[in-house]
């Protein structure tokens, strides 16, 4: 049964490694839902967060094939319940209709979003949350005129992660 899995990969910083990792998904004809990379809590160790929708058997195989790469220190996968995760979304909204009343501002407040910048013709709104939440706000804002919308890849930390941290710092 298909399910959402978050794959966390800890690696050395080396040119082309992203390419090497993504070929493993390409080989299996599997699309990547989202991807994020940044330096981890350990200096020089990078963390990839990849979200896929597939069955557990396949994700297991993929994770092992990722972990086998020379410059990969560790790769693990989790289901949503085992992680805390967020995505950040930015919305560029036309102010033409929005300025007619203060409904928009209320919408933004009620959705725990905030206005980052207010310009003559548009404003930039930021919301952090799960995909459904940023999606929902997008739907709310649509009638006012969305000029641009962008959402980041998922970042995620693992709830029972002490052991993992130990392994990363002591590898």
């Amino acid at each position: 049964m298909d399910q959402v899995f978050t794959i966390s990969i800890f690696t050395e910083n080396s040119i082309g490694l992203l390419n090497r990792i993504t070929t493993i998904f390409t080989k299996r004809h599997l699309s990547i839902e989202s991807l994020n990379t940044s330096e981890s809590e350990v200096h020089g160790v990078y963390r990839f967060t990849i979200v896929v929708k597939t069955d557990e058997e396949l994700v297991q195989k993929i994770v092992k094939q990722i972990e086998k790469q020379v410059e990969v220190i560790q790769a693990v996968y989790h289901i949503d319940e085992e992680t805390v995760f967020q995505e950040i979304a930015l919305y560029k909204v036309s102010t033409e209709k929005a300025s007619e009343n203060n409904l928009v501002e209320r919408l933004i407040r009620d959705n725990n979003a905030r206005i980052l910048s207010m310009e003559q013709d548009f404003m930039i709104v930021e919301k952090t949350g799960h995909k459904e939440e940023t999606e929902e706000l997008l739907d709310f804002l649509r009638p006012y005129g969305i000029l641009e919308f962008v959402r980041s890849g998922r970042v995620s930390v693992i709830k029972p992660s002490n052991e993992l941290h130990e392994r990363i710092i002591n590898f």
């Binding site: 040119i15 082309g16 390419n19 092992k64 086998k68 020379v70 990969v72």
Partner: protein, 573 residues
Amino acid sequence: MVAVLEKSTETKLRISGAEAVVRSLLAEEVDMIFGYPGGAVMPVYDALYGFQDQLKHVLTRHEQGAIHAAQGYARATGKVGVALATSGPGATNLITGIADAMIDSTPLVCITGQVGSHLLGSDAFQETDIISISMPVTKWNIQVTKPEELPEALARAFYIAKSGRPGPVLVDITKDAQFAEIDFNYRKCEQIRSYKPIPKLNLESVKKAAELINGSQKPFVLFGQGVILGKAEQEFKTFIEKAGIPSAWTLLGLSALPTDHPLNVGMLGMHGNYGPNRLTNECDVLIAVGMRFDDRVTGDLKRYAKQAKIIHLDIDPSEINKNVKVDVPVLGDCKESLSTLTSLINTNSHPEWLQQFHEHERIEQEQVIKPEMNPQSAELTMAETIQQINKVTNGEAILVTDVGQHQMVACRYTKFQKSKSNITSGGLGTMGFCLPAALGAKLGAPEREVVAVIGDGGFQMTIQELGTIFQTQAAVKIVVLNNNFLGMVRQWQQLFFDKRYSSTELMNPDFIKIAEGYGIKGKTISERKDLASSVKEMLEYDGSYLLEVCVGKEDNVFPMVPSGASVSEVRLS
């Protein structure tokens, strides 16, 4: 203090990046490499010129020839094979061999020249992004743009290629990095922090495996190339002998156990033997050693050994549960895991179970082997040719095969006494592999007889390497089993496509004349009366020799597990 300083200046060597490549190879005890020159790798070639007495460069006729020769060399010697090529087309011509080495776990270091670093990404002449192209088919690769990074990159390359589960690596070096000078200082790589080539053996799982084996009535061992790569032939033999387990080989496991060993029950898979295929679905414990349950071995997975408990010994964690769900995985170097396992199992024998293999063998003898060995038809068969070769070589030769019917027949019938004696393209099934691989094997193991058995189709894929055989005077014995067809494809067309022989018939040239053009002695035969004497003549001849054997045009290879069928459905006709 002064003394130390003096010493360090003494060992300091100021040389070009290109020379650093050559000296790095020497530091890794490489004495032979295979390659083809071109613009972006010329500095390395220039450096090689000064080291000809220490490092032999074999100039092939095509980069594909170079890489397959390096593979043959690696498989025959157990050492790392090295291939050298220029940028662009030189590098891309290596790809088939790299992919082949990846899937067959052959240790290779490929070195490619690259355009100058200031030109990278500009679509310069003969620029190709070989790093991206080779990524999915290399164990590791790296582009070097700074000469001072060269020694470490090469040290890592050798370490990665040969450690753990071996594989091909590629080092791409820009031309400016080859020209620039560095202070050369080489240190072999002994570890990489993110890389754990050998998983630690878990004693608990070995114990579980031993329990299963000790309680088993019908244990069955499948062994692959892991036994050879792990240099564990002796440990393997001791293991199966102590527990008395019938053992069957994959195409790449062949020669790890002598053919006439009483527990060697034959070949697995699509064109494997009758007993090993059928009895896979009757054993109670299946012990896989250094093999990867390739689909050509397993047939339909839904009907594969479902009745059995499965133990899998492998060095690569990603192989566990990849194709077949395993009950007891034993991760580790099989030299260690096998000896530990042996110490925990009971001395045993399974005569009735072994007898079942013999009964299947008798059926196969009657229905397939005898008719192939003593054919009624006037035409020669592939099987009787191999039989004649066996008579002269006594199982001492290295057999190199290409891909197709002749490969299956040669692997089924050739007798082996020694390990590392079977060289073939297993996982990728690369036609054109044989001739250059045989050349590499002969150059790597000149003391051994090397017999290349090739189909008339595959021979013409890398026939130009006759030129390299000519130039190196490598005494490769070449047997072309000529059926005037792309035989294996024709067989499928006959069996599964209503005999519609679409583009499989070949109009062949005069192979003997071609050989003669390259200064290689040759002979063609089509009659039984000439077979024994011609095979003998070829093998006794001092130098390379091409024997073309014209065989039945529409002969088929059996047994056969049709693709998608279960191993139980193996057909004898």
